[in-house]
Symmetry: C2
Subunit: 334 residues, 2 copies
């Protein structure tokens, strides 16, 4: 059997048709027939080898929606033909302390779907069954792909930081991650403030559920918000005046990062100490948290805002994302 | 009635005898007859106006042990003659959301004992009854003073970070704070590693309960400890290679600061993100946490290691602390 994929054969390379033989299916593996696949900024990051861990050829694609095409002999929980999703991670060891504790996302040998493994820009992709999730019937499969990386990235801190419906939450960036964070936290009950440098996103942010909108290209706006937020989630890959955002936290507040900043975060210790504040960050969630998200999103009828491209136009779609133009995610479809 | 105190009349000034009239005792206030008073680095910080918030004359002293000399009409829980302690804070508003939630230490109008208020280098000192704590009988009043600032500073994160007996905890600095942190965390059940640049403190650190000792003047020692600690508490007022300490954290680990660093903390975001790590800091604890500490310390028969000076030699004692020489705290006594 041959899998037909799109791959970058060198750093920053255009995606080209690439066929490979996947070998026999592992005992605990699932093969998914790919119907839709979101494009995430980290696909570009790995194609471009921005953090030095890429392995070529790179087959991007880690926001997969499809149907189960085959299961290994040890797979009990998934059936052929079932509609499923797959995200950033496709395997973990299942035996270390983190996997045992339900924190499989922190497993030191967790396997990203697109590093040393061929991803979802393909007709088929494989993964361990614990990282393949049945899609709730109430979710639209066309738009669900971005939940499996972008979505879980913004949902995970809700669980990890124990965010409550009474919390005041700031969300920095109204983009691929931020537009989902606004929806999730608004539905979670929080008072949501969206920060964006794009004033033209205000109406959309409010439609998504933001109670307040702050134009963060105005440097004094954030300074007027001292002592306002229980949590601030940064979804941007930019260097901002983090000291101002720490000052905007209430006592016990947390400035939490989901995007990687170009330069180190630098904060005066006394800014954290007096109000018992913290700075933290988190990656994608564990299987248990992915399932919590899927159920929550299905029940609340939330969905990513998506632009569609056919798989054949994957390079055009990648270029559009490189230019930061999508509102807000791109999904490839057959 | 006149209170006889020692005060610095100007920035960095020597302490001189200073008498003041305290006026009538507030309804909810307690007057303490001071028997012992610890000296803390923050007494020097306020005498020297290091953070620009001092009000002169400064009467230092916020690790007070004494007996109740008088109580206001609204004070029900303390009796004349009872042995009590008083720490960094002496009043809070008692009505804001933080006071209501039991987090009086985060009250925005909490009153430090030695800023805009006269402290415990005196024959008497006053405070709100909620900030005056009965001393358990099992505690030695001679050495208990330093528990009320240094002690609660290192105990508070045990509660705030929910540190468990199975945790691996690193403690940076074996000094006024660190020597108490080692005792507390060892008694709490943790596996304790002490970091110090003073190799000659190893035996003492182990006697206090450290399971391991790392000479942190060796820059490679910390680099060999990646993925080792659930929590690292920094008790030092120094700039270290924080990136190495973050790398020494296990997934979900926290680098927590109790000392104020001269320069901002700077950390690469990806170092936090992959392992879901955090950087945080905390001030002294709330009344409820002070009581938890006193009961724990009394039950475990822990105590600060103390050098004694008579009140009349307060300037010599302050000089010794400025030189970093005490092992590990100084207590003034009558």
């Amino acid at each position: 059997m041959t899998i037909h994929a799109y791959a970058a054969k060198e750093v920053g390379g255009k995606l080209e048709p690439f066929d490979y033989e996947p070998g026999s299916l592992g005992l605990e593996e699932v093969e998914i027939e790919v119907k839709y696949c979101g494009i995430c900024h980290s696909d570009i990051m790995i194609v471009d080898d921005e953090i030095g861990i890429s392995q070529y050829p790179v087959v991007p694609g880690h926001e997969v929606i499809g149907t189960v095409n085959a299961v290994g002999e040890g797979v009990q929980n998934l059936q052929i033909g079932q509609q499923v999703g797959l995200g950033w991670l496709s395997h973990s060891c299942m035996s270390c302390e983190w996997c045992l504790a339900g924190d499989h996302n922190l497993c030191q040998s967790a396997q990203p779907t697109i590093i040393g493994h061929y991803g979802g820009f393909a007709d088929k992709v494989r993964a361990h069954h614990k990282w393949v999730f049945p899609l709730p019937d109430a979710l639209n499969p066309q738009t669900a792909g971005p939940l499996f990386c972008g979505g879980i990235t913004v949902f995970n801190p809700i669980v990890q930081l124990n965010i409550k419906g009474s919390d005041r939450v700031g969300i920095i960036g109204v983009g691929g991650l931020g537009h989902m964070a606004i929806q999730f936290l608004s539905a979670w009950g929080c008072e949501v403030t969206a920060f964006s440098t794009s004033a033209d996103k205000e109406a959309e942010a409010r439609n998504l559920g933001a109670d307040h909108f702050v134009n963060s290209s105005n440097p004094t706006a954030i300074k007027e918000l001292t002592n306002s937020f229980d949590v601030i989630l940064s979804t941007v890959n930019a260097d901002l005046d983090w000291e101002s955002y720490v000052a905007a936290l209430r006592p016990r507040g947390c400035l939490h990062f989901l995007g990687i900043t170009p330069h180190p975060i630098a904060v005066q210790m006394i800014s954290l100490l007096l109000g018992q504040k913290s700075i933290s960050a988190s990656p994608v969630g564990s299987p248990s948290v992915v399932e919590q998200m899927l159920n929550f999103v299905a029940r609340k009828q939330l969905q990513p805002m998506v632009e569609f491209y056919p798989f054949e136009q994957v390079n055009e779609a990648m270029d559009r994302l490189r230019e930061g133009k999508p509102r807000y995610r791109i999904v490839l479809q057959r």
